[in-house]
């Protein structure tokens, strides 16, 4: 099993490497560069100087290797748009905000989603189930989270003045973005939890447990939930990187100085170091989540532990 995880780690690193190569190649193969559109027309000599200065005059593969070299030293380069800072610095100042919002979103949406899904499944065929499913499905899925965010701002900030319109400075700034961001994952989580739990509720071994006189409480925790939550690991994992790297739209709507904005601006301006750094972060997070969910699966499902994963 340990060997399996090691294998997995290696293959993920391999994929990570491929991802960076792919993006690097793509960036450089796309017409235009970071300085093509700035500040009017430059003389070819000036342009050449700038290219050399930023290490863009070398062949692409050499540039890539430079980047790797720098990376291994923990250095992500200098962003073209903010030449006074390093990419490391940029990310260090922006990411925590995104992480806070993202972390809270995950905590809230996952817990609420799981809880509501379980309740809905247990109270299957009653009004509780119908209510939860209707409300949650509708709210979560009807509108994009930034539209909801926008509506929330209109109502709670502009009209009622209860909450700040945006920006980042006080605790209240977190409330609306997190709520808006959480709705969709919560709805999805509720759905999957409900489906999984329902499936298990009617399983043979649950009925047999009942036939042996086990209490409903025991059946619920040790028979139903214990097995229904396992498949959810594969669902929960992949969303985490997305949430933790922030929603561009939410951050824009609420004027949060997080990582999201950089995704757009970096791409638009061909800010190579920044783009690569962002790709690296997202890809590494993904890799981490893949591994963690594999580990979680192994820990939680005895069938997998002994026979190996075949996903």
């Amino acid at each position: 099993m340990v060997s399996y995880l090691l294998q997995r780690l290696l293959s993920l690193l391999f994929t990570l490497f491929l991802a960076t190569v792919a993006i690097f190649a793509m960036m450089h193969s796309v017409p235009g560069g970071p300085f093509t559109f700035t500040q009017g027309v430059m003389s070819p000599a000036a342009m050449h100087n700038i290219m050399v200065r930023y290490g863009l005059a070398e062949p692409v593969w050499r540039q890539y290797l430079n980047w790797i070299w720098q990376l291994l030293h923990g250095y992500l380069g200098i962003p073209f748009e903010e030449p006074t800072m390093t990419v490391n610095h940029l990310i260090a100042s922006a990411w925590p905000i995104t992480l806070i919002v993202g972390g809270l979103t995950i905590a809230i949406s996952y817990t609420l989603g799981l809880l509501l899904g379980c309740i809905a499944a247990i109270k299957h065929n009653t009004w509780v189930d119908s209510l939860i499913t209707a409300v949650v499905s509708t709210i979560g899925v009807a509108l994009p989270n930034y539209v909801i965010g926008f509506l929330m701002i209109e109502v709670f900030a502009v009209r009622l003045g209860w909450l700040p319109v945006g920006g980042w400075g006080s605790v209240e700034d977190v409330i609306m973005p997190v709520i808006a961001f959480s709705l969709y994952p919560m709805a999805l989580m509720e759905r999957y939890t409900r489906a999984s739990t329902l499936e298990v509720t009617y399983a043979d071994y649950v009925r047999m447990g009942r036939a042996r006189g086990l209490s409903e409480r025991r059946l619920l925790f040790k028979y139903i939930l214990r097995t229904s939550l396992i498949p959810l690991i594969t669902i929960m994992g992949p969303w985490i990187p997305n949430i933790l790297t922030g929603s561009i739209f939410i951050e824009a709507t609420f004027a949060l100085p997080g990582l999201g904005a950089y995704f757009t601006t970096a791409s638009l301006r061909r800010d190579y170091p920044l783009i690569m750094a962002l790709v690296l972060i997202v890809a590494a997070l993904w890799g981490l989540c893949f591994i963690l969910s594999d580990i979680a699966y192994v820990l939680v499902d005895p069938r997998v532990r002994l026979e190996g994963v075949s996903r």
């Binding site: 009925r207 036939a211 042996r212 006189g213 209490s215 005895p302 069938r303 026979e307």
Partner: protein
């Protein structure tokens, strides 16, 4: 020495033998309320089981036999409901008991053996856990005691190397082994009665024989009352003392095994027996059938349910429901034109 727990517990009430039956069902009615119709799965079922006696319940799919079995422990799946009748177990009407008392009986007094061993064990807990749950619940045993008892139990159902097996998870065991574990679980708390719902249908034939032998053995040694649900007349012949034949939710005939096979009275029973292929049959008679299909009973109408397919049907059969009447000691039939002798039917 390790098996002495199988014998009746000291201090338990004297087993009912010959006298009052262990289980007595009177006029049981179970129906399923669907969106636009009601299915009367069991109508007017009456039967009894004594200690040490194996009663087989035979019928085709849809005859109501499984539902009957589940009713005994009040586990009819929704939208099914027990709508009438009484089920007396050791003198108490199970249908009037509060659910907590019912839970004591389930597993503690009545053990169930289901049809599908492959899916009847919790996949995420060990075999030992399964035993511990049930032994601490009904017998108040602690971890250590439960472990020892579990090993005895596993050994008594023929599982080799029980100590290692205990620590394993269900998916490591074969179908036959899982069924044995389930039987051991059913027996764990020394129940007075076993209900086996087609316990061997999902197993291959060699294992079937072993499981059924085990079943007989347990019944005999612990003087249990047992209900064996099956569609296989061969199993009935070999492993039951009495038989109840069901059709369309009703009892058609009940008799001792000998009487049923020697002298079946109900045309349906005769038909069933004729359907069993025989090695000695001549070419033209290899596969016999009863024409038609069993009905899904959606109306409580009068008349014998078998009338549409019966060769001996009369007008009365279509309009009046024949009651279950004793035609010989311990032999009852619900028919207006019961068969006098089998020779009569074969022509």
């Amino acid at each position: 020495m390790t098996d002495n727990w199988l014998e009746t517990k000291p201090g338990a009430p004297a087993p009912a033998t010959g006298g009052a039956p262990l289980l007595e069902v009177r006029d049981l009615n179970v129906s399923f309320q669907l969106e636009r119709s009601t299915i009367y799965a069991v109508q007017g079922l009456s039967l009894h089981v004594r200690a040490g006696e194996r009663v087989g319940v035979v019928g085709e799919s849809g005859s109501g036999k499984s539902v009957s079995a589940l009713s005994m422990v009040r586990m009819v799946p929704s939208p099914g409901k027990i709508t009438g009748g009484e089920i007396f177990f050791e003198g108490r009407d199970l249908l009037r008991l509060p659910l907590s008392a019912m839970r004591d009986i389930r597993g503690g007094q009545i053990g169930m053996i289901p049809q599908n061993p492959l899916s009847s064990l919790n996949p995420v807990i060990t075999i030992e856990s399964h035993f511990r749950e049930v032994l601490s619940l009904h017998l108040g045993l602690d971890k250590h005691q439960a472990g020892e008892r579990a090993i005895e139990l596993l050994r008594s159902v023929g599982i080799p190397d029980p100590r290692t097996r205990l620590r394993e998870y269900p998916h490591r065991l074969s179908g036959g082994q899982r069924q044995r574990v389930i039987i051991a679980l059913a027996m764990a708390c020394q129940p007075r009665m076993l209900i086996a719902d087609e316990p061997t249908t999902a197993l291959d034939v060699t294992i079937q024989a072993q499981i059924l032998e085990l079943f007989d053995d347990l019944v005999e040694r612990s003087n249990l009352g047992a209900i064996l649900i099956t569609h296989n007349l061969g199993i009935v012949a070999g492993h039951c003392d009495r038989v109840v034949v069901m059709y369309a939710g009703r009892v058609m005939e009940t008799a001792t095994v000998l009487d049923l096979f020697d002298g079946p009275s109900h045309p349906y029973t005769v038909g069933l027996l004729r359907c069993v292929p025989r090695l000695t049959a001549t070419r033209s008679r290899v596969f016999e059938t009863i024409p038609g299909l069993p009905p899904q009973v959606t109306q409580r109408s009068a008349g014998c349910p078998f009338a549409p397919r019966c060769a001996r049907v009369s007008d009365r059969c279509r309009t009046e429901t024949p009651p279950l009447e004793e035609i010989a000691p311990a032999h009852s039939v619900a028919c207006w034109n019961p068969v006098e002798s089998v020779a009569e039917m074969a022509s």
